[in-house]
Structures are given as structure tokens and as C-alpha cells.
Amino acid sequence: MALEPGASEGNIIVLVKPTPDINKVRFDVERGRIDRSSAELEINPFDLYALELATRLREILGGRVIAVSMAPPHAEKALRDAIARGADRAILLSDKRFAGADTLATSYTLAMAIRKLGGFRLVLSGEKSVDGDTGQVGPEVAEHLNIPHASFVHRVVDVDEDSITVESDFGDGYYLVRLRFPALLSVSRPLTFRGESLEPRIPKLSDVLRSRRARIEVWSADDVPGIDFRRIGLTGSPTRVVKAFYALEEGRRPVVYKDPEAAVEEIIKVLRSRKLLR
């Protein structure tokens, strides 16, 4: 599914994952998955940085910012938020057949939707989602689209008509990477753009009001041409949670000190017995 060269009219696509507030939501241990039925969904915090970066890049590169999500119907509110935060257009991939997708099926579905949209320069996503915490969807989408990607991007150093130069965390150090368009970036925080620190904006009231009237385009699997139904949702997902349980709080049995002198003596003793005093 390689992209046709020269097909780029220069839109910026932002992958937005509507996620539950992980402090409020329940985990369904029986079924091994997050119980999303009751939880209100908001944009994954990492994706807010991707969205902010997208609006900055639009000022330089032109084109439109298009937010794309795969989520249940009640995620519509999160997509309105994306509009309030500067997206020109929002697409919600919502269909029972998409449900139960792991990162492989999710990335395939998103990539097929991006192909339908066509004409993009960049795809942006957050480094990972707060609920799934895999960080896999970005690079997997890039692979399905056969475009280069950079993960854990902390700095956008420069951008021109044809390419973008970023600093990416490789683990042993930060490396400078230049990607020719079309390309995908997974962004981390803190995030800087040409030396300026980027923070997600707080939408103005007028933008919030405007977003309420905005049309959120809802696409079902039938709206995505050429999609292979065996590769989406639960059917297209090779990984399965077979069991899940609460992590046992092992806990330790602390010796408690209230007298500072005695505490310091004991700490010194521990450090010495562990040969940490040279």
C-alpha cells in the first residue's frame, strides 16, 4: 500500500486516541480489558502535543489539519475537542467490526483511512496512549503506509517544503533525524518546536462554541474502500489477553524511626554493610 509519489497536497493528519481518565476508569479483570462503557473519553494527553505541533506546522506548510480516531461513538466529544484545539476536520472511525482491535488491527484500520484521505505530508501521533501504553500504533501505521517514521521525538529542529528534521530519543542518546515527506512522527513531552517549548493550548470559548457546531464525520468499515475485513477488529488481532489480575502489593515491612539520630546511624550501617561507602 505504498503511496503514490507527488500525491501530496500537504495535509497534516493527527492520530487522536480518545482515552478514559485512567484514575477513574475500571479494569474488567474477567474479560481482560478496560471497561470503557461508563468512562468519559478525552484526548490522550500525548496526542494533545501532536495536535499542537500540527497547528504550528500548518502555519508554515499550509494544508489542513485532520484529526482521525478509531473509537466508540461516544468519542465524538473528544473529536469536537480536537476541532476546538485547531483541527480543520475530524473523522471518527466507528463500527462494531472495529472493536477489540490490538495494535496491528488498529494501525491497519487507521492506515487504510489515511489512504482514503490521501494527499498528506505528515502523520503525527503521541508517543503512546495512557491506557494501552504500547507506543506501537505510530510506527505500525508508518509501516502500513510504507513511509519513514521517527519515534520519541522531543524536538522539531527544522522544517521545509520537502522534509522535517527532528531530534529523536534512541535510548542511548538523542539523534538528529531528517525525514522526507510523507512521514510520520510520534511525539513525546517535553516537546520543542524550533527552540520554543510547546504546550497544548487551552481552547478559547469561541473555539469551543464553534466546535459544537462542527460536523464530525463518522466512517464505518464500509466507508473505507479496499479494507480487508479479516484484518480489522477482533478478527484481525493476533494478540489476546488470556488472563489478567491485580498486581499483588508485595509490600515491605519497614523498621520505623522517629529519632533522627538513630535513623541516621541505621542508614549509615545499611550503606556500610552493602559496601556503598568507599
Binding site: L104, E140, H149, T239, P260, L276
Partner: protein, 333 residues
């Protein structure tokens, strides 16, 4: 049981093999032995002597080392590594592929999984073979409150493994193994140029043997100097809890917690850290935990071996004074 093999991707970005890749070899050996299979390693080499790196992985339990030779300037190109790993998987047809869950590994492994159309499990804490002979991957979910056991129906099973959860094997340079210098050329991917190293990492908490961690009890940014002094005397590193990063006082590199660094030092000293689950998830495997908190009911107590109810500044200052005296005494004798 049918013989099945395990393939380990060995990370080599800059000419030094990443030690977290060696940790994978411990687990690979165990799983391969359960299947009476072989342990393969795949790596890229830009050195003059590709056998040097091969010897290292064979000494740590690989039966076969597959080496792809590349020009030095192409070594940090992760898409080239993805090519090599894909090609090695097609060549060896393993049952299980392990990649270290470093930022590099978490960028590269998803590309390979998507190319092969197989499942990938992120940031695993364990992998085992169950009674029916199937591979099970264990990973934390939900800020570590939930432990999920995951099976993959596609083949090979692919997992990234959190660095530090397995001990690296002791090298045995008398072990023999096969070295394959892969002759198929790797095509440099289009559209990506890794220009080079831009900044070194300033701190590596995952490797520190002593960590002095400070939390919300820190009243002002500059007060950290006291704790830096303590860390310096102990040959350790200063770390912080999430609120101190969120407030912009410290870089994320210094953050311990589920969303920061997972650490397991020999001694973890926590000053003014209450012990939110997200913090505990990052330090619970420390060998010995000492915490100081003004609040006797702080959850941190349950995760400490020594819990001092008191003022973090006072205790830290007393420790510094005592250790300095101890040091000067030692140096005089």
C-alpha cells in the same frame, strides 16, 4: 515437543552492543531449551571485525549469530535494522522474537511486526511456555496495577522486553557457536537520514546503584543541591517523582515512575515522596528502600525497609555531615 527456535535482536546503534540485549539472551536460552531449539541472535556490525560482536553474543548463550555488515554512517539507521531483523526472521523461522523495550527497540519492533502482519506485545516483564507448550507474554497494564498474560495467535510471537527485568548471563568465551555473515545486501530505506548523535543522555537512572529521589517535599528547586551532594558522596544519582517534572523543575530523564524510568538500584533513598502507585511502579524492585517523610501515614512506608518519620532536609543534612566525617576519617587512615 517440536524443536522451535528463539531469535534475539541485539541492539548496536553506535558500535557498542546494548547490555539490555544480553538480558534477553537469558530468557531466550530458557525458552529455546524448553523447545529443544536454538537461540539465534541478529545484529548489525560496522566494525572491522564482525566476529568480535558475534563472539560476545555466543559467549552469552547464542547458538548462532547472524551478522549484517553495514557502513558506519548507516549503523544508527533504525529502518535498516528493521530490514535486517525482518530478513533474519524469514531466514530462521523462529517461534519467538525478543527485542529490548528501549526507545530504539520500541520504534523498530512495531515496523517489523506490521511488515510481517504479526502481533507484538509491548514492554513485557516475562515470557514463559505454558503447560500446553504455548508462549505466554506477561505485561503490566494500567500504570502497573494490572498484570496481563497475553498469547499471540500469529507466528512468530514477538515481544519487547523491559530492560532490567532479567539478569544478563555471565559470558563464557569458551562456548562455541556458529557465525553467519549475512550476504544479502540491506537496502537503505528511502526518505530517512539519521544525521547523527545530537545530545548524550545526561543521566542513566536505570544503571545507578544508589538513587537519591526527591518528591513534593522539596520546597524550592535550588534545595535539590543538598540531595545532589548526598548522591555524589554515595556515588549515586538524583531522581525525582512525577510532580517535580510536571512543574517543570526537572527533566523527564530524572523521573522515576511508571511514565518515567523503571529503576532497581541497590539502595533507593526517597525523600519527601508520598508513594503514589505510579511512583511505586518505577522503584518497587529496588534492593533496599529507605524513605523519609514527615507524614507517618504516607503509602511509601509500605514499600520501604527503613521508614523515617521526620524532616527530609534535616535527615539529608545529618547524613551528609556524617558521611563527610566518615570519608575524611577513612582518607586519613
Amino acid at each position: 515437543m517440536e524443536r522451535r527456535h528463539v531469535l534475539v535482536y541485539v541492539e548496536n546503534i553506535n558500535g557498542r552492543l546494548n547490555t539490555s540485549s544480553f538480558e534477553l539472551l537469558t530468557k531466550a536460552r530458557e525458552v529455546a531449551d524448553a523447545f529443544s531449539g536454538r537461540v539465534y541472535s541478529v545484529l548489525l556490525s560496522a566494525g572491522d571485525d564482525p566476529f568480535r560482536e558475534a563472539r560476545e553474543v555466543i559467549a552469552r548463550g547464542s547458538d548462532v549469530a547472524i551478522v549484517y555488515r553495514v557502513e558506519r554512517e548507516l549503523l544508527p539507521n533504525y529502518l535498516l535494522h528493521a530490514e535486517a531483523l525482518t530478513s533474519a526472521i524469514r531466514r530462521t523461522r523462529p517461534a519467538l522474537v525478543l527485542v529490548s523495550a528501549t526507545p530504539w527497540g520500541r520504534s523498530l519492533a512495531p515496523r517489523v511486526a506490521a511488515r510481517l502482519g504479526v502481533g507484538l506485545t509491548a514492554d513485557c516483564l516475562d515470557v514463559y511456555v505454558d503447560e500446553s507448550g504455548e508462549i505466554v507474554q506477561v505485561r503490566p497494564a494500567f500504570t502497573g496495577n494490572i498484570i496481563a498474560h497475553i498469547k499471540t495467535s500469529s507466528s512468530p510471537v514477538m515481544a519487547t522486553i523491559r530492560p532490567g527485568v532479567f539478569s544478563p548471563p555471565k559470558p563464557d568465551y569458551s562456548r562455541s557457536g556458529e557465525v553467519i555473515l549475512a550476504d544479502e545486501p540491506l537496502t537503505p530505506p528511502e526518505g530517512l537520514e539519521v544525521v547523527g548523535l545530537s545530545r548524550e543522555r545526561s543521566v542513566r537512572l536505570s544503571e545507578a546503584s544508589v538513587i537519591v529521589a526527591v518528591g513534593r517535599g522539596l520546597r524550592r528547586r535550588e534545595d535539590v543541591a543538598l540531595f545532589e551532594e548526598l548522591a555524589k558522596i554515595l556515588g549515586g544519582e538524583v531522581a525525582v517523582s512525577k510532580p517535580l517534572v510536571d512543574s517543570g523543575w526537572f527533566e523527564k530523564e530524572r523521573q522515576v515512575g511508571f511514565s518515567g524510568n523503571i529503576v532497581r538500584p541497590r539502595v533507593y533513598l526517597a525523600f519527601g515522596i508520598s508513594g503514589a502507585p505510579q511512583h511505586i511502579a518505577g522503584m518497587r524492585d529496588s534492593e533496599f528502600v529507605i524513605s523519609v517523610n514527615i507524614d507517618p501515614s504516607a503509602p511509601m512506608a509500605r514499600h520501604s525497609d527503613i521508614f523515617v518519620v521526620g524532616d527530609m532536609y534535616e535527615i539529608a543534612q545529618k547524613l551528609v555531615n556524617r558521611l563527610k566525617a566518615f570519608k575524611s576519617y577513612e582518607s586519613r587512615n
